[in-house]
Symmetry: C2
Subunit: 354 residues, 2 copies
């Protein structure tokens, strides 16, 4: 049980007089609160700049957009790399195991702090989508609408398996030191890079990889036969791995992947997913992508069926794209239109005016 | 260029008088020559005991079945863990980069050595299937029939990506020592185990994982919240990783995955896959599995289309199963029937009698 919790968050736009135009954006596994502003470590645009901004789908001329770093993260909200006041050292593996429900509980504290009685919408993809589902289930009166994207109500065996590979890669790195690497001035960079590479393959579809790279060679005309990055796809993956370790904490990676593994909304409700949403007043827009094999459309349909069984107000769109799971982060026009349309209609129901 | 090459092989059954009943079985990435006999390191039955034996599909009362350890392997055929006569130390990364064509070339030397003018059939799944395709392309007159299973004529970008993750996991292990771990009395066990775990996920389908494990807990009734193997799928994967390192050489893993990455039969024939089989007299039986996402049916269909364009004699079966890529190693009745039927008909064409 932690008492004082530090949370880092960003806001975009202006809260209106009756505090009814606030949107909570929930970030995914390796995202952070810099949804629409420069990420200070990478210098890159926010991870959802395509979605959030003046005149965009999450229109900051109209909505007050809030994005907080998740509990257990490593960009300002308390996580395993922070100092445990009881020991004066970094928490490391003494940080308590967290769940998606814990993340949402801290976001609800932030909602109180910001004096927002109810979010106009809670939006997110992948692990962000898990938070959206948890929000709607745990605090139905406090979210007017919910947009879970490319997500599921439980983590599948295959996804747990891929996460376990990543965690084992981190823990196999001798620089991990049983989680106490910070005290030793070490960092399990190699293990974390391998974990990121393995995960990254799952974020793309085979057709996206084929279109992007095929068997193209990296900076050469002919095969050179060796263990260098000979194919472009290898070079790309290595780049993804190496860059990631500069901005992410290895123990955070363990905790946050674990939180996803534990997510199983039905089992928290006696094995019934409809029971998780019984009598909900929240309006739902469920979005999936045809080539997403990490969170396939069948998982979104399970959510939609449960919502219908719970007599919820729900719309569902499967978007045709070959971009795989990562499509929710990309400029995917049909996604932007779908969510934009849903928000416009929902704003009318909420009585929001420009 | 290597001169003397040591090859390890097993035979099952008896070569007939005119040497016309020999079948070459080609093993996959982590297989070996113990296709139908006890593996000496694990004590387990041969990896294709379901297929090979008296009265089985590859009937050792009828056929003379040959299986050799691949070039670059670690079970007796020369590979990176063997002594380089020039230095007196293990080859390590001084072992030449090998290709599927090199593996097949050494198998052709074995064919000469055994005085077999032409295999009755060349059979194999996954990387074994790549060897089958290479055999048929390079030595059409020396294989009467060919049975490529769960394979492709080129390695896809996604598959190269997964292999690269595995290689990076091995190379990230400090015990790898730039490939010179044997001299140091070390072994990159942790890295190789992670590589094996990542690969193993790809060998199963999501539905097989779901059926086998779902979100079942390992030896406990309730969640305990921690980083132990809490879910059965985690425990299973860790077991796969740990067991693998006792029987496989890490550098071999690098070389053999690389050989698969380089495989691209069309590019060896001016970009035309039909050209690889032009005028072939070989009879083909191509087999794929509906839930195999590593070597999906589309890849087998590419092979079949090329064979048809080359006016080859080809039959093709996609087998409905939820067992994923691993189905070729399992007791998959439709596979056994398909291959058994094809071999019976082919034996008639060959004039083989009991």
């Amino acid at each position: 049980m932690m008492s004082d919790i530090t949370m880092a968050y960003n806001t975009y736009g202006t809260l209106n007089a009756d505090h009814s135009n606030a949107v909570l954006v929930c970030h995914a596994l390796t995202g952070d609160q810099h949804a629409a502003s420069r990420q200070p470590l990478t210098g890159k645009d926010g991870w959802w700049s395509v979605m959030i901004g003046p005149g965009k789908v999450l229109d900051t001329d109209k909505y007050f957009v809030v994005c907080s770093n998740i509990l257990g993260g490593c960009m300002g909200t308390v996580g395993p790399k922070d100092i445990n006041p009881e020991t004066g050292e970094a928490y490391g593996l003494d940080f308590p195991i967290i769940t998606i429900a814990d993340m949402v509980r801290t976001q609800a504290l932030l909602q109180d702090y910001l004096e927002i009685p109810s979010w106009f919408s809670v939006v997110g993809g992948s692990m962000g989508g898990m938070q959206v589902l948890q929000w709607a289930s745990a605090y139905p009166e406090r979210c007017f609408s919910a947009i879970p994207i490319a997500t599921a109500a439980k983590h599948s065996a295959q996804n747990i398996a891929f996460h376990e590979v990543g965690r084992q890669a981190v823990m196999a790195d001798p620089e991990w030191h049983g989680g106490k690497y910070l005290e030793q001035g070490k960092n399990p960079r190699a293990g974390l890079a391998v974990a990121r590479m393995a995960a990254h393959v799952t974020y793309l579809s085979e057709s996206a990889l084929h279109r992007k790279f095929g068997r193209n060679l990296q900076d050469r005309d002919d095969l050179t036969y060796g263990f260098d990055a000979e194919f472009q796809v290898e070079s790309y993956l290595r780049y993804q791995g190496i860059n990631f370790v500069d901005r992410f904490d290895a123990n955070s990676y363990l905790y946050v992947t674990r939180a996803m593994d534990y997510f199983d909304l039905a089992s928290d409700h006696g094995g019934s997913l409809p029971a998780a949403f019984e009598g909900t007043p929240t309006r739902f827009c469920v979005v999936s992508f045809s080539s997403d094999w990490l969170f396939p459309t069948t998982e979104s349909k399970d959510v939609v069926r449960a919502l219908i069984a719970a007599a919820a107000n729900v719309s569902f769109v499967e978007i045709e794209t070959d971009k795989g799971h990562d499509a929710f982060l990309l400029d995917t026009p049909e996604m932007l239109q779908t969510i934009g349309g849903f928000l416009a209609a929902t704003a009318k129901s909420r009585g929001l005016t420009q």
